[in-house]
Symmetry: C2
Subunit: 360 residues, 2 copies
Amino acid sequence: MPTSSQSYPMSGGDDQHSYIHNSSYQKAGIDGVEEKTRQYILENLDLMNLNPNLSTFTIADFGCSIGPNTFHAVQNIIDTVKLKHLKENQENCLGPLEFQVCFNDQRNNDFNTLFRTQPSSSEREYFSVGVPGSFYGRVLPRNSVHIGHTSYTTHWLSKVPDNVCDKNSPAWNKNYIQCNDLIEEVTNAYKVQFKKDMKGFLEARAEELVPGGLMIALGQCLPDGVGLYETWQGIVKDIIGDCLMDMAKSGVTTEEKIELFNLPMYFPQFSELKEEIEQNGSFTIEMMETVSHSLETMQLTNDFITSMYRAILSTVVEEHFGADVVDELFDRLAKKLSKHPIDFEICKKQMVYYIVLKRK
Amino acid sequence: MPTSSQSYPMSGGDDQHSYIHNSSYQKAGIDGVEEKTRQYILENLDLMNLNPNLSTFTIADFGCSIGPNTFHAVQNIIDTVKLKHLKENQENCLGPLEFQVCFNDQRNNDFNTLFRTQPSSSEREYFSVGVPGSFYGRVLPRNSVHIGHTSYTTHWLSKVPDNVCDKNSPAWNKNYIQCNDLIEEVTNAYKVQFKKDMKGFLEARAEELVPGGLMIALGQCLPDGVGLYETWQGIVKDIIGDCLMDMAKSGVTTEEKIELFNLPMYFPQFSELKEEIEQNGSFTIEMMETVSHSLETMQLTNDFITSMYRAILSTVVEEHFGADVVDELFDRLAKKLSKHPIDFEICKKQMVYYIVLKRK
């Protein structure tokens, strides 16, 4: 039964199944809020107040994975801070600014690929460092980060709640492989873990950020009152669970193994997320809104869905079921989707949230 | 012909041929100066003067490779700074100190293995970051490092001098694969590159270190007047060159290919190294001495020598000759060594230097 802290990075390397080549959905989310980030920084970041003698501006991307999305996101922040620095410099006499970017992810993230694929040092206007470790704890020194960023990350919990794989618990998740919100006790068990993790995340960032520093977060949550099972994202993962059950029937895996498998993922409802942030008193909420996602209204192709979920889930599937299972599982997913395509029209929509917090 | 900047990290991963399992020679060097480092820091590091409000103490290991040596070296520094902090705290009111360690190496270094094999976050008393990039240029922000460390690194040049692979140049190195000091023009060409690189190294560190910060360097050089060809280390690499020539004769590679192959390594003489450091005016030389190496007086076994050079050279050999060549080359080296063992008695000795510089 999984009890200790878990770590399942996105699919590494840069082959056809890698996260690098299958993260355009997340990219669309990041692109959608670029302008908001730019505008907020230009209007509100106060470099003089942060530190009039500032010589290094430090940006951290928490849960950066292996690119390329992280490079886009931090470049947008750097470009904007540069512009802001230039403007403030006309009024005050600020020193020249160097940039450092801390790319954080789990220590088994593929940092080699991250470093290999990042812009070369001649194109880059920042010093790049890789920071291995779970963002649910401290990964950087106190007062060392000016802008923190995270996108599509905190729905990954630090662990699967203990009891959802326990047949004797009321929170047993049966043959489901995710918290799809169909069993109340399961949802509650996941909620407890989510609250604990979110608390850890915010407490760690509160220590790492300088006073006046910003934490920008982008991710997916559920509208209040909507269950994950009603969204296409929830449905796809339930279908993946069905595929595993089919594979158990044909002897590739076993039902017992599936019962012990649950995804360490939880999508909170909007108000629940807000509550967690408010409970941590170290930040002011500068912005917290839902934004549109350019791909949310489109009928995604089955290939796109299959490749995207393979890049996201292959590490966790491989860890539990072994490497042999991955190809067959996602082949079966593709087939099931082509036989019974998802009807995006009748699905309820997840929300994309965009949050800017300021360290008090 | 190799002209651009080159990067050949130590052999990655953790199999039998990896640097991890074949770096005990370098470890013996590091162990040999641990006490010196401890003593120097305790007697001379002035935390109050560095910054009375210091909350993060940053250590950088330049050219850290993949461990485990780097972890030993930085732990020794941290333990000592902690002790020093405790002592100074009895007189002054210093705040609590957090430690950050920047592990720097080329961007194709195996950082995944470094992060995987480092002490776990619960055992570690420091925040760990990986810093990809050549230490012959800037890799970290201005004024961000309190103690820099490097061991067995700067004999790796940023590139092979252009003309040593050029048949029409007086600095042509014929069938030798290293600067063994048998051809004066070759030595001069390497010397030029060494001076350029050392200048770059020191200028970059001068910017990165805080005033009062320390740069500790350990490595191998030659006593004045000794040529590399007279030392066992030089002889081994000349034998590797001979093995390549044998392989050309049996058609595994070609003489033309060997003529284009030279190791980007240069071992300066002691006075030459000193001159380079003195030319950069940013540091005071606090210590510069030669130290004994516990394995230097021992008759190393042929297996030890073969494995050590395989871990050091396999990346550069593979890059030029292809992966197929590596096994055969080092098999041949082992055979040649067992037929004609190195007579350590008659070899001249390299020197191990230990340097402490203080940023003015």
